[in-house]
C-alpha cells in the first residue's frame, strides 16, 4: 500500500525496529552501555579481535595476529602456528614470573572514518587512558582493562605494561623494526589465560587524535560536566568500524548508519564485507507498537526478542520470517544458602541443607516448564549450568538427577520427609507449626515462571510466593540477603567462564553471589582453573567443576530460552540465525540481499 512505500522509501536501507526506553545520544562507546548502545557502538568501532565461542579462537579485526611471547619478543607457538601451551607453562610457570607478555600485530590499512590512519598508538592510547582513572574516570574500560599490567596511581604511570615503537618498547627489550612501528604492540597481562579476552574482544579502540586533545585530568573522558568539545565528540563519533553514523538524520527516535566504503575488511571477492548500505534503527517504546510496525511493513527487522506467545501470530503471516535462535542465557533459581546471621531463620536454615536444595531441584520439570511458559521455545539446561553446545567444556556427567519426573517427585518427598517432621494435605510444616514457605523475588516479567514454580513446588508440599523486586533490589534485598529465593540469569561461556565462575561461586562480598555459597573444594578448583597457563588443563578443570556445582544445588537451572525474533522477507533475503542473538546481527548484515522485483 502507499503508506508502506512511504515509510520505507529507500531501497538500500534496512529498517530495523528496536524496543527500548531510549536511544543513546552519545556514541562514546566506553560510556554507552545501556540498551541498543553496544550494538551501535559495535557498528561504529572495532575491537582488536572477535572471539569465536565455538572454537575458542580469536578472529582478526583491527588486529591481524597475536602471540604470547618470551622475554625477547619471540612468539611461543608450535610449528603450526598455534599457541604452544607446554612452552608457555614452562616459561611462565615459574612463580617469580609475574606477567604474560603478548605481542599484537595489527592491519596496516585501517583508517578512521575521518580518514586518519589507525596505528598502534591508537591502541596504546586506548588502553593507556583506560587504566588511567584520572583521565577516563569510571568509563567502561575500568573492568575490561583490569588484567592489563599497566598501572596509574593518581595520574602517574607507576608500571608500564604497553610497549610500542614510540613508547618504550626498546627500553623493555622488545625490538620493533622501523617499518612495523605502526603495527606492533606488546602488552603485559596478568598470568591468567583469560586475561587477553576482554582486552582483545571487549575494549573498543578509540582514535587518539580525536580524544587526546580534549581529555585531560580537568576534563575527563567521563565527566559530569563535559566541555562542549567533548560533547561534540560524543555526538559525532569517529570510529574504525564498518559503519558511520548519519548525525543529520539521527535523533531520539531513529538512528541512521551508513556503510563505510573504505572499511579495511572485504569479502574474498573484494566487495564490501557488509551488504547493507544504510541501516535505519527506529525506536519503539512498546513491543506492541513495534509489532504493528512490522506487520504494517514499516520496518524490515525487529532487533528485540519477542515473547514466544507471538509465534502463533507470525506463523500465519507469509512474509514474516521467524528466527528461533538457541539462547545462551541460562535462567536459574538462586537459593539463599548462607544468609548473614541477622537474616537467618528456621525456614532459611532449611535452604542451608544440600539435600533439601536437591529436593527442590528434583521438583522442577524443565521440559514441562519450557513447554508451558516458553511455548516450547527453549532448551533444558544441565545442573552444571553449561550449555551442551559448548562441546569443548560441557560435562554431560553433571546431570545426575533421574529423568523420570514421577520418580523425581517421589525422591524429593522422601528427602523432605527426612527433614521436615510435619506434613498435612497442604504441605510441610516446621516443628513450631510454621508452614514451609518461601518468597521468590522477581521482576514482574518473571511472574509466569514464578507462577509455574509455585505450582510445581506445591506438588512436593512446599509453598512459594511471589515477592516483587523493589526499585533497588541489590541494596534492599540481595546484598543484605533479605530473601529466600530469586531468579537470576547467567551465561557461562568459553569467553567468560573464568571470571563468572569466580563471581558466582567463589567470591564473597558485594558480587552477584547473593547467597554467599562457600565450598572450599569448589573454591580451590576454580582458582586453579583460573590461574593455569595450560588451556587443556583448564578445560579439564572446567569439566570437573561442573558436577561440583551441580551437587551444590545452589543455582538450580530452569531453562535456556530461545531468542525469537522476526523479520520481513518482502524486501531482503539472506537473514542469518545466530545463537543467542536476534536476527539483526553481523552475519545478517553481511549476507542480506535485496529481493529482485518482478
Amino acid at each position: 500500500s502507499s503508506q508502506r512505500q512511504n515509510r520505507r522509501p529507500d531501497d538500500n536501507t534496512l529498517y530495523v525496529g528496536s524496543v527500548q526506553t531510549s536511544f543513546p545520544t552519545s556514541f562514546m562507546p566506553w560510556l554507552s552501555r545501556e540498551g541498543i548502545a553496544p550494538t551501535i557502538a559495535s557498528m561504529l568501532y572495532n575491537t582488536l579481535f572477535s572471539y569465536d565461542e565455538e572454537t575458542g579462537l580469536f578472529n582478526p579485526i583491527i588486529g591481524k595476529e597475536w602471540y604470547y611471547v618470551d622475554d625477547d619478543g619471540n612468539p611461543i607457538v608450535t610449528e603450526e602456528g598455534i599457541i604452544d601451551y607446554d612452552r608457555l607453562e614452562a616459561i611462565y610457570g615459574d612463580p617469580s614470573r609475574q606477567y604474560l607478555a603478548v605481542k599484537v600485530i595489527i592491519h596496516d590499512n585501517i583508517t578512521w572514518s575521518d580518514g586518519v590512519p589507525l596505528t598502534v598508538e591508537d591502541i596504546y592510547y586506548s588502553f593507556d587512558i583506560g587504566t588511567n582513572h584520572l583521565l577516563s574516570n569510571h568509563a567502561g574500560a575500568l573492568a575490561w582493562t583490569s588484567d592489563l599490567r599497566h598501572n596509574y596511581t593518581n595520574g602517574v604511570l607507576t608500571r608500564q605494561g604497553l610497549f610500542t615503537y614510540e613508547n618504550g618498547a626498546a627500553q623493555q627489550g622488545y625490538t620493533i623494526a622501523e617499518e612495523d612501528k605502526d603495527t606492533v604492540i606488546y602488552m603485559h597481562v596478568n598470568k591468567v589465560l583469560g586475561s587477553v579476552m576482554p582486552l582483545f574482544s571487549s575494549l573498543l579502540i578509540l582514535p587518539k587524535h580525536i580524544w587526546e586533545p580534549v581529555v585531560s585530568p580537568e576534563n575527563q573522558l567521563n565527566s559530569a560536566s563535559p566541555t562542549e568539545e567533548t560533547l561534540y565528540r560524543y555526538q559525532n563519533p569517529v570510529g574504525s568500524g564498518p559503519y558511520v553514523i548519519d548525525t543529520e538524520r539521527s535523533g531520539s527516535q531513529q538512528i541512521v548508519l551508513h556503510r563505510r566504503d573504505d572499511y579495511h575488511l572485504k569479502k574474498d571477492d573484494g566487495s564490501p564485507l557488509f551488504n547493507i548500505e544504510t541501516v535505519n534503527l527506529i525506536l519503539y517504546q512498546e513491543i506492541n507498537v513495534a509489532i504493528y510496525a512490522l506487520l504494517k511493513g514499516h520496518i524490515d527487522v525487529l532487533d528485540t526478542a519477542v515473547s514466544s506467545n507471538y509465534l502463533r501470530l507470525f506463523e500465519q503471516e507469509e512474509e514474516i520470517l521467524i528466527s528461533n535462535a538457541p539462547g545462551t542465557f541460562v535462567q536459574t533459581l538462586v537459593l539463599n544458602v548462607n544468609p548473614v546471621n541477622s537474616e537467618r531463620n528456621p525456614i532459611r536454615d532449611l535452604l542451608r541443607e544440600n539435600e533439601f536444595r536437591k529436593a527442590i531441584a528434583l521438583a522442577i520439570n524443565q521440559d514441562n516448564l519450557i513447554e508451558n511458559v516458553l511455548n516450547g521455545a527453549g532448551i533444558p539446561v544441565s545442573p552444571g549450568l553449561m550449555r551442551a553446545s559448548m562441546t569443548e567444556i560441557y560435562n554431560p556427567h553433571a546431570d545426575r538427577l533421574p529423568s523420570d519426573h514421577q520418580e523425581r517427585l517421589a525422591e524429593a518427598n522422601a528427602i523432605l520427609d527426612r527433614f521436615v517432621p510435619d506434613k498435612d494435605s497442604a504441605g510441610y510444616r516446621l516443628l513450631d507449626g510454621e508452614r514451609v514457605s518461601f518468597n521468590i523475588l522477581g521482576h514482574p516479567g518473571e511472574q509466569d515462571v514464578i507462577s509455574y514454580l509455585e505450582i510445581q513446588l506445591q506438588k512436593i508440599g512446599i509453598e512459594v510466593n511471589y515477592a516483587a523486586k523493589g526499585s533497588q533490589p541489590e541494596t534492599t534485598f540481595l546484598y543484605t540477603s533479605r530473601f529466600d529465593m530469586t531468579l537470576q540469569g547467567v551465561i557461562f561461556s568459553l569467553s567468560n567462564v573464568d571470571i563468572m565462575y569466580r563471581a558466582h561461586f567463589s567470591a564473597l562480598g558485594r558480587t552477584s553471589n547473593y547467597g554467599r555459597l562457600v565450598n572450599p573444594e569448589l573454591n580451590q578448583k576454580i582458582n586453579t582453573m583460573r590461574t593455569t597457563l595450560n588451556l587443556n588443563t583448564k578445560y579439564t578443570l572446567i569439566q570437573e567443576i561442573q558436577p561440583l556445582i551441580a551437587d551444590e544445588f545452589y543455582k538450580i537451572p530452569l531453562y535456556t530460552s530461545n531468542v525469537i525474533s522476526v523479520a520481513r522477507t518482502d524486501r531482503f533475503t539472506g537473514y542469518q540465525v545466530v545463537d543467542g542473538a536476534t536476527i539483526f546481527n553481523n552475519a545478517t548484515l553481511q549476507n542480506l540481499v535485496r529481493v529482485k522485483e518482478e
Binding site: 515509510r7 531510549s22 543513546p24 545520544t25 545501556e34 575500568l142 573492568a143 527516535q253 525506536l283
Partner: protein, 332 residues
C-alpha cells in the same frame, strides 16, 4: 491596586516555585545516606572495589562531597543559570538539553489538547446551557457521566488499535521521521497534525466533556444571577445578554479550573505518549525512571511544576483582567 496585585501574585508564584525547587532537591535524597548510591545503584557484576571507586567518583562529579547545604546552594546557583544538572545517561548530557529537545513535542500535544478541549468544550457547554433540559443538554450530561469514568489511556489503546492499526485512518503511532524531518514546511506540519491526531483525540475527549460540563454549570449559575435579570429588564437583545453578560461571567470559574487542570493534563500525558510512541517529556520521564536517572526525573518534574505555576499564574492574571473585583486576597 491592580498592579500591586499582579506583583504580589508573581512574587507568590516565585515563592511556590522556590519550595518546589527545594522539594526537588530533597526528594531523591530521601532514605539514602549516600546520594551517590541513589544516583548510581550497585550493579550485580561489579566488585566492591570497583563500586567504591565509582561511588567516590560519583560523589566528586556530582558534588556530593560537600555538605548538603553547600550542595543545595550549588543546585540553586545551577538553576539560576538554567542548569538542571547532569543526566545519568551515558555521555553525561545536560538535563536541560535533553528536555529542550522533547519539550516542543510535548507542548504540541498539550497545547492542542487544551485548545481543542477549551474551544469545543465551551461551545458544547454553552449550547447545552442554552438548550437546558433538551436533548443537547441530556446528551452532554450522559456523555460526561460516561467519559469521566473512562481513563484516557484506555481510550488511547482502543483508538490506537482500531482507528490506527485496523482502519489506518490516522497513524497508530508516531512516525519516527516526524521529528528529524520537521522543517516547518506545510507537509511537515501536516505530518505532525496527522500523527498527533489520535493522542490528542484520546486526551481531548475527556477535557472537552469536562470543560463543557463546567461551562454549562457556570452559564446556568450566571443565568440565575440578579444582574442577568437586570440586563433583561433593560430590554437588551438576547444575544447581547448571552455574550456580553452571561458568557464573560461564566468564564470566571472556567479560567480558574483551567489553571488547575494543567497539572492533570501534563501528568496524564505520560501514559498517552507512551502508548503512541510520542517522543515527548512523558516518555523521557519514563525513560529516566527506568534508568533511575534522578537528575533527569527531577528536572522534568521541576519543569512541569514550573509550567503549572506559570499556567496558574497566567490564568490568575487573566482572571484579574476578566474580573475587576479581584485585587487583593485570594479568589480561590
Amino acid at each position: 491596586m491592580k498592579k500591586s496585585y499582579v506583583i504580589k501574585r508573581i512574587l507568590y508564584s516565585i515563592f511556590v516555585f522556590g519550595i518546589v525547587m527545594t522539594l526537588n532537591f530533597f526528594i531523591p535524597r530521601i532514605g539514602v545516606e549516600d546520594p551517590a548510591e541513589r544516583y548510581y545503584p550497585p550493579q550485580g557484576n561489579m566488585s566492591d572495589i570497583e563500586y567504591e571507586i565509582i561511588k567516590q567518583v560519583t560523589r566528586q562529579q556530582y558534588g556530593f562531597d560537600v555538605s548538603t547545604w553547600q550542595q543545595y546552594l550549588n543546585y540553586l546557583t545551577g538553576l539560576m543559570e538554567g542548569n538542571l544538572g547532569t543526566s545519568f545517561r551515558s555521555g553525561s548530557p545536560a538535563v536541560t538539553d535533553l528536555i529542550v529537545d522533547r519539550l516542543p513535542w510535548t507542548l504540541v500535544l498539550s497545547v492542542s489538547t487544551l485548545l481543542i478541549g477549551l474551544i469545543a468544550g465551551i461551545l458544547f457547554g454553552v449550547i447545552a446551557a442554552m438548550k437546558r433540559g433538551r436533548w443537547q443538554d441530556t446528551t452532554l450530561l450522559n456523555a460526561s457521566t460516561i467519559m469521566v469514568a473512562l481513563p484516557g489511556f484506555f481510550i488511547a489503546l482502543i483508538l490506537s488499535f482500531y482507528l490506527g492499526f485496523e482502519f489506518e485512518i490516522f497513524p497508530a503511532y508516531t512516525d519516527p521521521n516526524m521529528v528529524s524531518n520537521f522543517d516547518w514546511s506545510l507537509s511537515a506540519i501536516q505530518t505532525v497534525a496527522e500523527n498527533a491526531a489520535l493522542p490528542v483525540l484520546s486526551m481531548a475527549v475527556g477535557s472537552i466533556i469536562g470543560y463543557a460540563q463546567g461551562t454549562r454549570n457556570a452559564v446556568i449559575a450566571v443565568t440565575n444571577e440578579d444582574f442577568i435579570l437586570t440586563a433583561k429588564a433593560k430590554g437588551l437583545k438576547q444575544n447581547t445578554i448571552r455574550y456580553k453578560h452571561t458568557l464573560r461571567n461564566s468564564m470566571l470559574p472556567i479560567v480558574t479550573s483551567l489553571g488547575m487542570s494543567i497539572s492533570g493534563l501534563i501528568g496524564g500525558q505520560v501514559v498517552i505518549e507512551q502508548i503512541f510512541n510520542w517522543n515527548g517529556m512523558g516518555t523521557l520521564f519514563l525513560e529516566a525512571n527506568n534508568m533511575n536517572d534522578y537528575p533527569l526525573m527531577m528536572g522534568i518534574m521541576l519543569l512541569l511544576s514550573g509550567f503549572t505555576i506559570l499556567a496558574i499564574l497566567i490564568t490568575d492574571l487573566i482572571y484579574v483582567l476578566l474580573d475587576p473585583r479581584v485585587t487583593v486576597g485570594d479568589k480561590r
